[in-house]
């Protein structure tokens, strides 16, 4: 067998202080809250390292959803009966939990959506159609998920706006000078990812907002990958819109939130239409409902919203500062261990990054690596991560991405490293 590890032993545990942060959370206690983690896959204990794709759900989230269906199922904002009142209370409690979690000034600024993709589409569609004209520009970055590229492109074809893309360096850090130079009097929106799903880079949102606001340009933030892993405070960031998905923050799929400044949301036209979003309808005219209901046409994902509220409460019970500190420590440990393997090239080495270990090996295609890792019970994502421009930037078709959560342990990283040895064994 090839000896792939240059660094002997396990770095970060030598008492030199590198392990700093790993003791702020006891992951073994945390893991008790996640029933799904206690299983074998292909005869090996499951090692779940695909958290940037979706996170697992704690028992409290599962219970909140089943409690709603077991005891309180009714439509919201509709009936005068008791179940409807209970459902409405819990649904709105979820909204208040989200408001608190992101430190939004007002819960009416929190709009439930299906997820980040819908949040981005809502703003592109509603704000964009109202305010953008031919020749206007929207600035995004080179590390956006397709969901923050395509809605603007579609709008671009329709209206004739131009998409400007901020490039990044080899480490995956935005070239801020180029960003600054792109801002001009034709710029109508800056829409930027907080943490890159493919690279892990955490972008300097407050600085980007300050520069944009100096030109009177609003900023939309895709917080899908940041909000599960660090404190996200919309007022501290200074953003104008921010959106995220529930399922990446230990909540259910199919629900997420868009936060926007009330003064902006108030003047935006509805995104979809139907029930709930109206105040009064005649065949001649419709008067729209107030925020947030104006943007929530139709019966919403009530169970999802309740589950999202439970996920927020779960995260608050641990504390986002602690989660961030632990995951940063685990990221340092993982980076050192993977970096020590000959033939492994890390993709995304920004100074400021979250728990994403994206890598490429010349010897084996990411999908073959994924198959071998799966045979060892290890779940990772392989592919272009819906960020093909990022792959093109590095001249590679795909990467293997191990992404961390606070229920992961140094043992999980060690299992990953051992499985990569197996890849080298097979592919030589």
């Amino acid at each position: 067998m090839t000896t792939a590890i240059n660094t002997p032993g396990a770095p970060g545990r030598d008492g030199s202080g590198q392990a700093h942060g790993l003791d702020v959370i006891d992951p073994h206690r945390i893991r008790q809250d996640f029933p799904i983690l206690h299983q074998e896959v292909n005869g090996k204990p499951l090692v779940y390292l695909d958290n940037a794709a979706t996170t697992q759900k704690p028992q409290s989230v599962i219970d909140a959803i089943s409690n709603y269906y077991l005891h309180n199922n009714a439509n919201v904002h509709r009936g005068v009966h008791t179940l409807s009142q209970r459902a409405t209370d819990d649904y709105e409690a979820g909204r208040e939990a989200v408001r608190r979690f992101i430190n939004a000034p007002d819960a009416n600024e929190v709009i439930y959506v299906r997820g980040t993709t819908e949040g981005l589409n809502l703003v592109a569609s509603s704000y964009g159609r109202k305010y953008f004209k031919a020749g206007d520009e929207v600035i995004i970055t080179g590390m956006e998920h397709h969901s923050n590229i395509v809605p603007w492109q579609i709008l671009g074809k329709e209206i004739g706006i131009r998409l400007r893309v901020v490039p990044f360096n080899d480490d995956g850090e935005l070239l801020m000078d180029e960003y600054e130079a792109m801002l001009n009097d034709r710029t109508r929106m800056v829409s930027v990812v907080h943490q890159s799903n493919a690279l892990g880079t955490v972008n300097p949102i407050p600085e980007m907002v300050e520069l944009a606001h100096a030109h009177g340009i609003p900023v939309m933030v895709d917080a899908a990958q940041s909000i599960p892993h660090m404190p996200v405070d919309v007022q501290a960031l200074g953003a104008d819109f921010l959106t995220f998905s529930g399922h990446k923050m230990y909540g259910p799929t199919g629900i997420g939130a868009l936060w926007g400044r009330a003064e902006l949301l108030d003047d935006m036209p509805p995104y979809q239409s139907g029930g709930e979003m109206i105040r009064s309808v005649t065949f001649e005219e419709t008067i729209y409902n107030t925020l947030p209901h104006k943007f929530e046409a139709g019966t919403p994902d009530i169970a999802g919203a309740i589950g999202l509220g439970a996920a927020v409460e779960y995260l608050e019970s641990i504390g986002m500062e602690r989660i961030a500190a632990y995951e940063q420590a685990l990221l340092r440990y993982g980076t050192e261990r993977l970096d020590g393997i000959e033939g492994v090239r890390m993709i995304g080495t920004a100074e400021e990054k979250g728990g994403v270990l994206s890598f490429y090996m010349e010897a084996a295609h990411p999908h073959d690596i994924g198959t071998i890792l799966d045979s060892e019970g290890i779940a990772v994502r392989t592919g272009h991560h819906c960020a093909q421009p990022v792959m093109a930037r590095y001249g590679i078709p795909a990467t293997v991405r191990a992404s961390l959560a606070f229920y992961n342990t140094t043992d999980d990283i060690d299992a990953l490293v051992k499985a990569i040895d197996r890849v080298i064994e097979v592919f030589g």
Binding site: N42, H365, H367, D368, T371, M391, P397, V426, F427
Partner: protein, 149 residues
């Protein structure tokens, strides 16, 4: 679910991955098509030179996993010299091998293609193995693009 890895990554398959056969472009192809697996980004360009109902030459280019690359390499070996009916019969048999467990297979027809039989135990990888064949079928049918989706 997953059977032994060595059933999937046989040495001869890895060898085809390292040194794929007919990894080239043809000067004067009569048929060609591009194949994409949008799920994983695998991409293949296949060219054929067909005359008198016979595949005289075949070449492929592109990038993808070991499974998709070895499969394309094996495909080029299998169809070179075959008639279009024989080629389609191989397509059907190969498809059957990867999608119908316990199917009775024509081993003589499959020849070396049989070394990909282990892929059936890895449902997420079947599209990798079959991409080159869909691309071949598209080229023969006069379509220019094939996708596994």
């Amino acid at each position: 679910m997953a059977s032994d890895l060595s059933d999937l990554y046989q040495e001869i398959l890895l060898e085809h991955n390292r040194r794929p056969r007919n990894f080239k472009t043809l000067d004067d192809p009569t048929h060609q098509a591009d194949g994409f697996n949008p799920l994983c980004g695998d991409q293949i360009s296949l060219q054929l030179k067909v005359g008198d109902d016979k595949v005289h030459d075949v070449g492929f280019q592109g990038h993808g996993s070991a499974i998709s690359r070895a499969s394309a390499s094996l495909l080029t070996q299998a169809v070179k010299g075959a008639t279009s009916d024989e080629t389609m019969a191989m397509f059907d048999e190969f498809h059957k091998m990867l999608t119908e467990p316990d199917a009775e297979l024509d081993i003589d027809l499959l020849g070396d293609l049989e070394m990909l039989a282990g892929v059936i135990a890895y449902p997420t990888r079947i599209k990798c193995a079959i991409l080159a064949w869909h691309t071949l079928k598209a080229a023969m049918d006069g379509e220019n693009v094939a996708t596994t989706e």
